[in-house]
Symmetry: C2
Subunit: 257 residues, 2 copies
DNA sequence: ATTCATTGCGTCATTATGACGCAATGTAAT
DNA sequence: ATTACATTGCGTCATAATGACGCAATGAAT
């Protein structure tokens, strides 16, 4: 099936395949070059970008739809994919935008067409290992690539708001659960982990206190190897103790009451 | 409009009024007799209960729909109404249940009827002041009343799961934000506040340490009055310092990083 | 007047936190 | 080869937060 055939099928058959009114959008976070990034899709014609998203098949669990989108755009089957908020204002959907957009493909739709109706979208965020991702555009886009979280290009409708809300949620999550597994490679250094935390929190942390605290959670295993090829003292490598990491995910990191 | 007219209108006109596939359900928490309670609706014929819920008008923000449900069931315009999770498994809706249910009213529907389709529901939870609530059943129920959170009767489909998830979320919220305003009356005692925390956390707390910690947040104002009519030493009354309370809501209670 | 559950206010040992010092390491510059 | 320098590992110290518990005061019920 060519791309334009795929678009045609979506437009004409979509209403039979998908739940009406509903979509999912995924904020896919990756960490690279000491920067937190998000995966975005570029519109076919316009210089506008959007979050990876999709519709929900009529008999598909909502979570499964999000996993499917994630899989299609990254090639990954991530465990960490959290639903975090629903965006449901009536004005978050721009009917004319999509109508004009499809007109470029010679597709003329009237007001009642399913794809021009109001959509409520369910936001998910995922933490993935940057190096393992193979970004793949969907039928309706021409490119798929990573962007630094604070330097994203112009985004469709409320997608910037969705990213910000995902970041807020991730920040809160950080205060009661460990984060890092799947965002960092298998082996990483303490400064790398710290940089991740600093990026998410948008705040500098004391190197020594950070190390003391993160080690006290007992979720790390220090390896005997050190990082090679750095222009200074070689730091130790660490990896997550997955057993304790997941235990901490379930039980929280203490704190609070 | 009588009740059965209202049902008829909903059944026959609903598809023109509401977004398809979507509903909202509210877990409305109240605190009374040192117990955390939820507001539930009783089915018209069966001895089965459900959460207050409703559909979303085609041009209505999703949050507004939740507020509307809250207002209709309690008479209150609460500020605290948080969206916490979407429940979207295909099997969470029981088509035959509703078909048989409506048959009792002489309404026969075929498979394609909008109200028998799969619904994805958006869960909200609200904290309200027990004494100010006037429980009111909706068109599809016969009674509306409070139930102790851990002693609820048989609930429709996944509604028990929704309550549990709301409690989980409330517990997490408790660890980084203050809770209590709107769940307690204007003036309350320290033991009452503690009982609220203990109920939510399902855990005993030390009386003296609890007081020290909660006071350290500076969100309380101690009044000169004491509680009257208790069979022992009269405890002081407190009220929330709303300015600082809301500041703490925004900024969090410290903790974490 | 006495009893007794409960309250207000405190102590004390332990642990967590924030701020910072210093020697060791290993590449890069001289 | 020697030195410079950014960065790391490991530590200290003062202060704040936490958990466990003591004790006298209160006030309705006996």
């Amino acid at each position: 099936m060519t791309k334009s055939e795929a678009i045609n099928a979506l437009i004409h058959e979509g209403r039979n395949w998908f739940l009406p009114s509903l979509s999912v959008d995924c904020v896919i976070f990756g960490f690279h070059d000491n920067q937190l990034k998000v995966l975005l899709l570029k519109h076919r014609y316009l210089n506008i970008w959007s979050l990876p998203g999709g519709f929900i098949y009529k008999d598909e669990p909502v979570d499964a739809a999000a996993h499917r989108v994630l899989k299609e755009r990254t090639g990954l089957n991530e465990i960490f994919l959290h639903q975090f908020h629903v965006f449901g204002d009536p004005d978050r959907y721009d009917k004319e935008f999509h109508r004009n957009d499809l007109k470029r493909d010679g597709i003329e739709l009237n007001d009642e067409h399913w794809i021009l109706q109001r959509f409520v979208t369910i936001g998910y965020y995922s933490l993935v290992e940057f190096s393992k991702v193979t970004p793949a555009p969907d039928t309706l886009s021409e490119k798929c690539m990573w962007w630094e979280i604070h330097k994203t290009p112009a985004l469709m409708i409320d997608h910037r708001k969705i990213i910000d809300k995902a970041l807020d949620t991730l920040r809160i999550q950080l205060s009661y659960q460990p984060v890092g597994y799947k965002l960092l490679p298998e082996k990483f250094t303490m400064p790398e982990l710290q940089r991740l935390y600093e990026t998410i929190l948008d705040k500098k942390l004391d190197r020594r206190n950070f190390q003391r605290k993160i080690l006290s959670f007992q979720i790390l295993r220090r390896l005997t190897e050190t990082k090679k090829g750095v222009a200074h003292k070689a730091p130790y490598l660490f990896s997550f103790n997955l057993k304790k990491y997941h235990k901490a995910l379930r039980q929280g990191l203490g704190g609070g009451w």
